[in-house]
């Protein structure tokens, strides 16, 4: 197995916010670590609240950007979300993970704000998208007819010297990735941010977005391909 495949395989099992050692699931459906964190939050532990904000703020900003026009508005939506979390923490029943619950509040607030702004802005959140049509890769990159129909006509050129670290060190590549993410329709952006950027496990992403696992992976692949194609173009 090559180095990239190892990196990929290890990474997809990684959950950055809560270590696997502490994920013994209790009868409430929450992990032991979440139970402990919630108990601290309910006691008013400000360090625990800081930790919660540090864990999830990036996910919330990136998710909010799927619904509203700019970063400034996204920051406001996320701030409102945290205020709602503070106000409602005592009503949290643990039927989903804390992250899923917070994400649900964010989506509700961001959608509401996005709808109010819709008439003033045009952005990716309102781009139509259909899971069943569109192919991930542009069909014109493949032979259209003949003995080799369906095989590459314009194959991707090797990125032999582009390790993930080098990609991240290249401003051109990172900017192209950021722009490609921003341009994604919301339903592709959500899965890419939750699964790939934030490392949320597939089952939890499906629960957060109320989609099937099949839908998740179809959308995830299309989102990854759009980002890959943007980097390909940027690297020439």
């Amino acid at each position: 197995m090559n180095a990239d495949a190892i990196t990929y395989t290890e990474s997809i099992g990684h959950r950055p916010s809560i270590s696997r050692k502490s994920q013994a699931v209790k009868s409430s459906g929450l992990t032991k670590a979440e139970d402990t964190l919630i108990a601290k939050l309910r006691r008013g532990d400000e360090w625990a609240f800081d930790e919660l904000v540090n864990q999830h703020h990036g996910m919330l900003i990136r998710m909010a950007m799927g619904y509203v026009a700019d970063r400034e508005v996204a920051e406001e939506v996320v701030q409102d979300t945290w205020m709602a979390v503070i106000e409602s923490l005592n009503r949290f029943e643990g039927r989903s993970s804390l992250r899923t619950w917070i994400c649900g509040i964010l989506i509700h607030k961001a959608k509401d704000r996005g709808v109010r702004e819709k008439r003033h802005t045009t952005f990716s959140a309102f781009e139509s998208y259909d899971d069943d049509n569109d192919e991930a890769v542009d069909p014109f990159r493949f032979q259209q007819s003949g003995e080799w129909a369906g095989h590459w006509a314009f194959p991707p050129q090797p990125w032999d010297d582009q390790t993930p670290e080098k990609l991240l060190a290249s401003k051109q590549a990172v900017d192209s990735m950021q722009r490609a993410i921003e341009a994604l329709p919301t339903i592709l952006k959500e899965v890419l941010i939750l699964r790939d950027v934030e490392g949320v496990e597939a089952k939890e992403v499906c629960e957060m977005l109320n989609i099937t696992e099949t839908n998740l992976y179809v959308r995830l692949h299309r989102a990854r391909e759009r980002v890959r194609a943007a980097v390909e173009t940027a690297l020439g």
Partner: protein, 88 residues
């Protein structure tokens, strides 16, 4: 082109099929025989090998994008709100 190894290894599995299933392949979601066929195709086809590697590298880069934190002003405002809620 008639010597393309995928002709005899993959029996009808095209590059377009492989490209469409790349995430399922990387996430180990394919049935075992399909996975073997895709794996053999990827081994024998430079275009698909590049494609699979690139999707994997983009994924790894996405996972490593910088974390985002609230501005100091917003953080302070949240702390105050949290403290006030629990002072009551």
């Amino acid at each position: 082109m008639k010597d393309h190894p995928s002709q005899w290894i993959n029996g009808g599995l095209t590059c377009r099929d492989v490209a469409e299933r790349t995430t399922d392949y990387l996430e180990d979601r394919l049935p075992v025989f399909k996975k073997i066929r895709v794996g053999l195709h990827v081994t024998s086809c430079a275009g698909c090998r590049s494609y699979v590697l690139q999707i994997g590298r983009v994924f790894s880069a996405l996972r490593s994008l910088p974390k985002l934190y609230p501005s100091p002003v917003n953080r302070l405002s949240l702390r105050r709100q949290f403290a006030a809620r629990h002072a009551n």
